[in-house]
C-alpha cells in the first residue's frame, strides 16, 4: 500500500526505517516536529536524501562559510550556492566552472561511476545557461601495481573517455596520482567549464503561480537509488563494495541531446527557471526550485515517465537516473518548449505547476504522498559543529627524519621519471578527445588547459587542477595552500591571469575528530590563501567518508584555478622550442624534500614538513610570467612541483624533443637542486635577445632569476652531474603505464618523437 499523508496521520506510531536511510534519532525527531506528524515513506526518503552529508553539507557548512568572506572582486556574477559560480570574462561573455567528486560510485563500478561523474558535472554547468566546452579530471588511485588498481584505473579512464568523447567535450587536463591511501577509495573528481553570453544566465528559482514544471530527458528508473544518502555519505567496510545498484548508468547520447535542446530553450528565452537532476534526483530538483523561488509547488508524480511501471513514489523521488533536467516554463511557452524537445528527440513531460502558498505537495494517483515546506528540506537541514582534534601521530610524522640524500645520478633520474606518479600520462590522455570543438590551444601534458572562447578576439581561458595528499597529510593548512599555489602557478605559466577558484575537498569521515581537524585546517588555509591571491572561491564540492575500514585517505583538497588570456595566441607552451634559447630558473630552491616524490617513490617515506608556502612569491612569479607572455619574451615556461627541477627539465625537453645543457649554481648539492620540491618556482626559456629585458622584469618584481644554461641537442646534460639522451629519457618516461596496463596502440606504432614545430 502507498503511504499517503492521510495514512501517516492515522498511523502516528508506525515504526520507520530512518536509521537504515542514514538519519540520526534527533534528525528523525526534528522531521516529525516540522511536519507535526510522522513523515510518509516518500517524505522520509526525501529528508534522508536532502539531509544527507552529500546534499546538506551538514558537517562542512560551518567551515565553508570562510569562503563566503573572501572578497568577490568585480567579476563574480553568481557566487556559491547556485549550481556553479559564474564569472564575467568580458566581451559580453561569462564562464561557469566547477569540480565535483564521484569517488564511491567509481570504486563500485569504475566505468559507469566515472562516466556519470562527467555527466553530472556537465549538467551542473548546463543548468547555469552555459554551453559546456571542456572537462578535466583530477584522479587518485591505489598503488599502480596493486591488482585491484588494474580493475579500477583502466575502467575509470575508459568511462571518462567513453562519456566525455561521446558528448563532444575536449578533456584538456587533470591529474593522475597513485598512492596506497586511495587503495579502497579512489578519488574521481570531474571538472567542467561552460561559456555563455552574460544575459543568458539561468537560475533555479521556480516563480510565477501557474507556471508549469517540465521534466526533460531520460525516463526514470530504479538505478542509483540511495546513491547520495548511502553511497556518498558512508564509508566502505573492509569487504569492499556491494552497492552496485546504487551506481547510475550513463547514456552520453541522451545527455548530448539534452545539452543541445536546453541551449536552444535558453536562447529562445523560454525558461523561467531550471535545475539539473543529479544526486538526489527529483527530490532535490523539486525542493530546490520551489525553495529558491519561495513558491508553492504541486507535482503529479504518476506523470513521470518510468522505465519500470512497478516503481513506487518514494523510488521515483529517490531515483538518480541520469540525463534529466527540470524546467519551469510559462503555460504560453509550453508548446514551444515541447516542440524544441521533440526536435532533438528529448522526452518532455509537464509534471506539475507552481502554486500559491509555500508547500511542496506531491501527488500519486490523486492522493497526497508528500506535503512539506520545501525550505525545510533544502535549507533547514541539520548543521553540525563536529569536534576536531589534531591527529595523535602528526608530531611523530613531522619529526620523522628523511632518508640520507644520495648522489644525483643518471640512474636516479631515470628511475624518478619512470615512477608511476611522474611518468608520462599519454596512456591516459590518448584515450580522451582533447580537441573536439576546435578551440583547444593547450591540453595535457601542458601546465594548464587553454581553450579559446572567441575566434574573433582570441579571448580564452586557462584551467589547472592540483592537489597533494602527502603535503596535506603532513600539514593540512599548508597542503591546501600548496594545492592552490600550484594550480595558480600552472595557470600563470601559460600566460593567463588567475581570477577564480573551484575546489573539491576529499576527506575521510567527518565523525572522526582527527579528520575534521584536517578539514578545518585545510579550509582555513585555502580561504586565507584565496584572500591573499585575490582568487575567490566560486563553488565546489565536499566529499567526506573517503576511508576504508576506519583508515581515512590522505586528506586531498583538489583546487582548480581559472585564468584569463586576452589573446590565446600569446599563450606560453611548456616545451623547449629552439636551439640556443637561454634557460632560466625563477624562484629559490631550498632543501625541501619532506613529503616529496623522491622520498615516497624511492623510500616509501612520508614524513617531515611540506615545502614552505610563500604567497607573495607566487604572486610575483605569476606577474612575471603573465607580463612576459604578453610582451612576447618567452619561448616556454613550465612550473616546478612534484619531482622538482629534474622532472621539469625532462618534461620540457621531451615535449618537442629539444634537449638542454645545464650548469647548476654553487651552493646546495646537485641532488637537492634537482629533486627538491620548493614552491614558487618555474623554468623558462627566452631567446638570447630577450634575456636582458626579461631579467629586468624579474628584478622589478623582486623575483630571483638564475641562468641555468641553454637549450639544444638531443640530451639533457647537467654539467659534472649527469648526461642522459632524450631517447633513453623518453623510453623511461613513457613505458611505465603501458607496461602496467597494456599497450594502447598496435605494435606497429612506435613511440613517436615530439611533433614537428611550425616554422
Amino acid at each position: 500500500m502507498i503511504d499517503t499523508v492521510k495514512n501517516a496521520g492515522a498511523t502516528p506510531d508506525e515504526p520507520q526505517p530512518y536509521a537504515d536511510l542514514g538519519l540520526q534519532d534527533d534528525e528523525y525527531a526534528k522531521i516529525k516536529a516540522i511536519l507535526g506528524r510522522r513523515p510518509t515513506q516518500s517524505e522520509l526518503a526525501m529528508y534522508s536524501i536532502m539531509w544527507s552529508e552529500h546534499c546538506s553539507y551538514k558537517s562542512s557548512k560551518v567551515h565553508l562559510r570562510q569562503f563566503g568572506q573572501i572578497p568577490k572582486g568585480d567579476r563574480m556574477l553568481v557566487g556559491m550556492g547556485e549550481n556553479a559560480g559564474v564569472v564575467d570574462v568580458g566581451e559580453g561573455l561569462a564562464v561557469t566552472f566547477k569540480v565535483e567528486s564521484h569517488n564511491h560510485p567509481s570504486y563500485v563500478e569504475p566505468y559507469q561511476g566515472a562516466a556519470t561523474g562527467i555527466g553530472g558535472i556537465v549538467r551542473d554547468i548546463l543548468t547555469m545557461g552555459a554551453r559546456p566546452i571542456l572537462v578535466m579530471d583530477p584522479l587518485r588511485f591505489g598503488d599502480a601495481d596493486h591488482p585491484d588498481t588494474k580493475r579500477v584505473f583502466p575502467g575509470v579512464i575508459a568511462g571518462i573517455g567513453g562519456y566525455g568523447n561521446c558528448l563532444g567535450l575536449p578533456n584538456v587536463g587533470g591529474e593522475v596520482v597513485f598512492d596506497p591511501s586511495y587503495q579502497g577509495n579512489p578519488l574521481v573528481n570531474a571538472l567542467c567549464l561552460g561559456v555563455m553570453p552574460t544575459d543568458r544566465i539561468q537560475l533555479s528559482a521556480a516563480r510565477g503561480v501557474g507556471n508549469v514544471v517540465v521534466l526533460l530527458g531520460a525516463k526514470t528508473g530504479r538505478d542509483g537509488i540511495g546513491g547520495v544518502s548511502v553511497l556518498a555519505s558512508a564509508t566502505f567496510e573492509e569487504d569492499g563494495p556491494a552497492n552496485r545498484p546504487a551506481v547510475q548508468v550513463g547514456d552520453p547520447f541522451e545527455e548530448k541531446l539534452l545539452i543541445e535542446s536546453c541551449l536552444e530553450l535558453f536562447d529562445a528565452k523560454l525558461v523561467e527557471g531550471i535545475q539539473d537532476l543529479g544526486g538526489a534526483g527529483l527530490t532535490c530538483a523539486l525542493t530546490e526550485t520551489s525553495a529558491a523561488g519561495k513558491s508553492g509547488m504541486r507535482a503529479y508524480l504518476d506523470r513521470v515517465p518510468l522505465r519500470e511501471a512497478s516503481m513506487e513514489p518514494h523510488e521515483v523521488l529517490a531515483s538518480e537516473s541520469q540525463e534529466r533536467m527540470l524546467a519551469i516554463v510559462t503555460p504560453e511557452n509550453l508548446p514551444k518548449v515541447l516542440a524544441i524537445a521533440e526536435k532533438w528527440g528529448v522526452l518532455a513531460t509537464a509534471i506539475g505547476e507552481v502554486v500559491e502558498g509555500d508547500r511542496l505537495e506531491i501527488l500519486w494517483n490523486g492522493e497526497t504522498v508528500v506535503d512539506v515546506p520545501p525550505g525545510s528540506l533544502a535549507d533547514d537541514g541539520p548543521v553540525y559543529e563536529r569536534p576536531t582534534q589534531r591527529p595523535a601521530d602528526l608530531d611523530a610524522l613531522q619529526a620523522k627524519e628523511l632518508p640520507p640524500y644520495p648522489e644525483a645520478t643518471k640512474e636516479l633520474l631515470l628511475a624518478m621519471v619512470a615512477g608511476p606518479n611522474l611518468c608520462s600520462r599519454r596512456w591516459v590522455t590518448e584515450q580522451y578527445d582533447r580537441i573536439v570543438l576546435g578551440n583547444t590551444v593547450l591540453a595535457a601534458p601542458e601546465d594548464a588547459g587553454v581553450v579559446r572562447l572567441s575566434e574573433e578576439t582570441g579571448l580564452g581561458v586557462a584551467l589547472a587542477t592540483d592537489g597533494n595528499g602527502r603535503y596535506t597529510r603532513l600539514d593540512p593548512y599548508a597542503g591546501a595552500q600548496l594545492a592552490l599555489a600550484e594550480a595558480y602557478r600552472n595557470v600563470a605559466a601559460t600566460g593567463a591571469v588567475p581570477i577564480a577558484v573551484t575546489d573539491c575537498l576529499n576527506f575521510g569521515s567527518p565523525e572522526d575528530p582527527e579528520v575534521m581537524w584536517q578539514f578545518a585546517e585545510a579550509t582555513r588555509g585555502l580561504a586565507d590563501a584565496c584572500t591573499f591571491l585575490q582568487t575567490p572561491v566560486t563553488g565546489g564540492n565536499v566529499s567526506f567518508y573517503n576511508s576504508t575500514a576506519g583508515t581515512p585517505i590522505n586528506p586531498t583538497p583538489v583546487v582548480g584555478v581559472l585564468g584569463l588570456l586576452d589573446d590565446v595566441a600569446r599563450r606560453t607552451p611548456m616545451g623547449f622550442r629552439a636551439e640556443g634559447d637561454v634557460l632560466l630558473l625563477l624562484g629559490d630552491t631550498k632543501d625541501e624534500l619532506g613529503g616529496s616524490e623522491w622520498a615516497w617513490s624511492q623510500h616509501r617515506h612520508l614524513g617531515g614538513r611540506p615545502p614552505q608556502v610563500d604567497l607573495a612569491r607566487e604572486k610575483a612569479l605569476a606577474a612575471v610570467l603573465v607580463t612576459a607572455a604578453r610582451d612576447g619574451l618567452l619561448s616556454s615556461a613550465h612550473d616546478l612541483s612534484d619531482g622538482g627541477l629534474a622532472q621539469g627539465l625532462v618534461e620540457a625537453a621531451l615535449k618537442n624533443g629539444v634537449g638542454a645543457r645545464v650548469a647548476l649554481p654553487a651552493g646546495l648539492s646537485p641532488f637537492v637542486q634537482l629533486f627538491s620540491e620548493s614552491a614558487g618556482r618555474a623554468v623558462v626559456t627566452v631567446p638570447p635577445s630577450e634575456e636582458e629585458r626579461f631579467a629586468e622584469l624579474c628584478a622589478a618584481q623582486g623575483l630571483p632569476c638564475t641562468r641555468l644554461g641553454t637549450t639544444g641537442g638531443d640530451a639533457l646534460e647537467v654539467q659534472d652531474v649527469l648526461t642522459v639522451g632524450l631517447d633513453a629519457l623518453r623510453v623511461a618516461h613513457e613505458s611505465t603505464l603501458p607496461a602496467l596496463f597494456g599497450p594502447l596502440a598496435g605494435a606497429s606504432a612506435a613511440l613517436p618523437a615530439g611533433p614537428a614545430l611550425p616554422a
Binding site: F253, E254, K256, E430, D433, I435, G438, N439, A745, A750
Partner: protein, 220 residues
C-alpha cells in the same frame, strides 16, 4: 561555393567542419538530418561524432536519415561528399564506399597526431596534395579499424582508390588504410580528422586544410 555540413543527433565535429570550410574560403551551410533538402550546396561533409549514439554499428542508423537519401543520390550524380570519422562509417553503411570500420584492435579509444601518406590525389578532396606527401592530422576514434575482404582491398589498391595510408597504424586497419574513395573520386571517407588541422593555434598544423581547398578547386 557552398559546403554543407550535416548535423545528426550526436554529431560532434560538425562546427569544426564548418570552420574548416570557412577557412578554406567556402560558405558553410548547416544541414539537418531530418531535412532531405540540401539547400543548394555544392558539396557535403558528413562530420565526426556518434550519430544517434552509435549504440548499434557506427553509422548504421544515420544511413536511414532523410538527408542521406538525397546525399546518396547526389553523390551518385557526382557531387563531392567527404565523410570524416563517423562520416566515413556512414558512407560505408550507405554503400557509397566498400568495407567497414570496426572496433580498434587494442579496444581503446585513441587520440593522437597521426602522420598520413597521401596515396591518391585524383579525388575531389585531395587534389591539392602531392602523391606520396606525408601530412599530420589528428586521429581520434574507438572504431576506426578499416576492414574489407582481400578482393576488395586488392581492387582498392589496384584502382588507386586508397586515399591515404597511416604511417604507424593506430588501430589495426587492414593494409594501414586511413581513407578511400569511390570509382569516380567524388566520394571520400577518411578516419582521421583533417578539419582539426586547419589552424596553427589549435591543431598540429594546417596540413588538413588541403581537403577543403581541393574541393573548391574541383568545383570550379
Amino acid at each position: 561555393m557552398k559546403i554543407g555540413v550535416v548535423t545528426f543527433p550526436g554529431s560532434l565535429d560538425d562546427r569544426d567542419a564548418q570552420r574548416a570550410a570557412r577557412l578554406a574560403g567556402a560558405e558553410a551551410v548547416p544541414l539537418w538530418h531530418g531535412d532531405a533538402d540540401l539547400h543548394g550546396v555544392d558539396a557535403v561533409v558528413l562530420p565526426g561524432g556518434f550519430s544517434y549514439g552509435d549504440y548499434l554499428r557506427c553509422g548504421a542508423i544515420a544511413r536511414f536519415a532523410p538527408v542521406m537519401a538525397t546525399i546518396v543520390d547526389a553523390a551518385n550524380g557526382g557531387m563531392p561528399v567527404l565523410g570524416i570519422c563517423n562520416g566515413f562509417q556512414v558512407l560505408c553503411e550507405s554503400h557509397l564506399l566498400p568495407g567497414a570500420l570496426t572496433r580498434n584492435q587494442h579496444l581503446h579509444f585513441v587520440h593522437r597526431d597521426q602522420p598520413l601518406r597521401i596515396a591518391s590525389t585524383r579525388t575531389a578532396w585531395t587534389n591539392a596534395y602531392d602523391d606520396g606527401q606525408v601530412i599530420t592530422v589528428p586521429v581520434k576514434n574507438g572504431e576506426g579499424c578499416y576492414v574489407a575482404d582481400d578482393k576488395t582491398l586488392d581492387m582498392l589498391e589496384a584502382e588507386n582508390r586508397v586515399v591515404a595510408y597511416y604511417v604507424g597504424n593506430p588501430n589495426g586497419s587492414q593494409r594501414d588504410i586511413a581513407g578511400i574513395t569511390n570509382e569516380r573520386g567524388n566520394v571520400v571517407g577518411i578516419m582521421p580528422h583533417p578539419e582539426h588541422a586547419v589552424e596553427d593555434l589549435t591543431g598540429p598544423g594546417t596540413d588538413g586544410l588541403g581537403f577543403f581547398t581541393s574541393v573548391l578547386k574541383a568545383l570550379v
